[in-house]
Assembly symmetry: C2
Homo-oligomer: 149 residues x 2
DNA sequence: TTGGGTGCAAAGGCTTTGCATGTGA
DNA sequence: TCACATGCAAAGCCTTTGCACCCAA
């Protein structure tokens, strides 16, 4: 999709990064698999199909930079891999991320948005004087499919 | 504290584990520092003061087992270390863990309990058919002390 | 031109594992 | 007795880093 390519190029420039084939390719891979939570290795494999010369180190360096700029979201499931997905709102960062449902049976990951935590965060600020600016919520359980089996 | 020692011995037996000096020592270290979130290396260093012959591998194996049995809680702050703390209710496991406040400035960790998520979990179960059995909540922000500076 | 970006390989650093020995039940 | 637990060292494994080369601006 050339439209996406243009968007990514602008996104990179806007954040003071040089536009390189590798960076655009990585963003394309992530954006073509929304909510897929890919590991660095998986991103590497996908990018290599179109751009065989890319190195794994470049993938690591790129997702590092993109993550620091909040252009992509990090997800750690404690399975030894850090996963990444493209932010729902791309460059627009409200400081709050969406939450994840993780199936303990099949490993599927579902994302959802909920503002229920805002009340909790206000409560914490009032009682403890702790100013919450970001949160990470993971809910573990059994997904519909696995429950039906 | 001999009382704690006895308690830990019973706890280990109850869970089908052999009672060893190393395991009791590790539980003692964790229980004497509640809410401290120690890394394996830190646990190792503390235990070595009283029991110099212990090996780091034993610490790793022990916290693994204790964590699997929900006798201790795992906390991952994405800083390269996995941390452990003794469960507030020891062997009594209701499947839900407490939450953490993490200060982005000084790195302090505060724990708190809140049942606000239950409404959210019910909502998810009704709308998505996903049965939540556990959750992990991390709130990032600025603690009172750092705000005052 | 030139400083940031990339590829490759080596190094890092936390954690796990193999194996012989030790020990709790 | 004997299956489980431990210590030590080596191996694993994901990720980072050094360095020379390359290329977008």
């Amino acid at each position: 999709m050339p439209d996406n390519q243009d968007m990514f190029k602008k996104l990179l420039k806007k954040n003071g990064l040089k536009v390189t084939t590798q960076r655009v390719a990585i963003l394309e891979v992530l954006s073509s698999r929304p909510g897929k939570h890919l590991t660095a290795e998986e991103i590497y494999d996908f990018v290599k199909k179109k751009y065989p010369d890319i190195g794994l180190a470049t993938v690591y360096r790129t997702i590092q930079v993109l993550s620091d700029l909040n252009l992509i979201d990090k997800l750690n499931l404690d399975d030894g891999y850090v996963r990444y997905e493209i932010g729902k709102k791309d460059n627009e960062d409200n400081g709050h991320h969406h939450h994840h449902l993780i199936c303990l049976d099949c490993g599927s990951i579902f994302s959802f948005q909920d503002d229920l935590l805002e009340a909790l965060e206000e409560h914490i600020e009032e009682t403890l004087g702790f100013k919450v600016v970001d949160h990470e919520v993971k809910l573990y359980g059994h997904c519909k499919k696995c429950l039906e089996k």
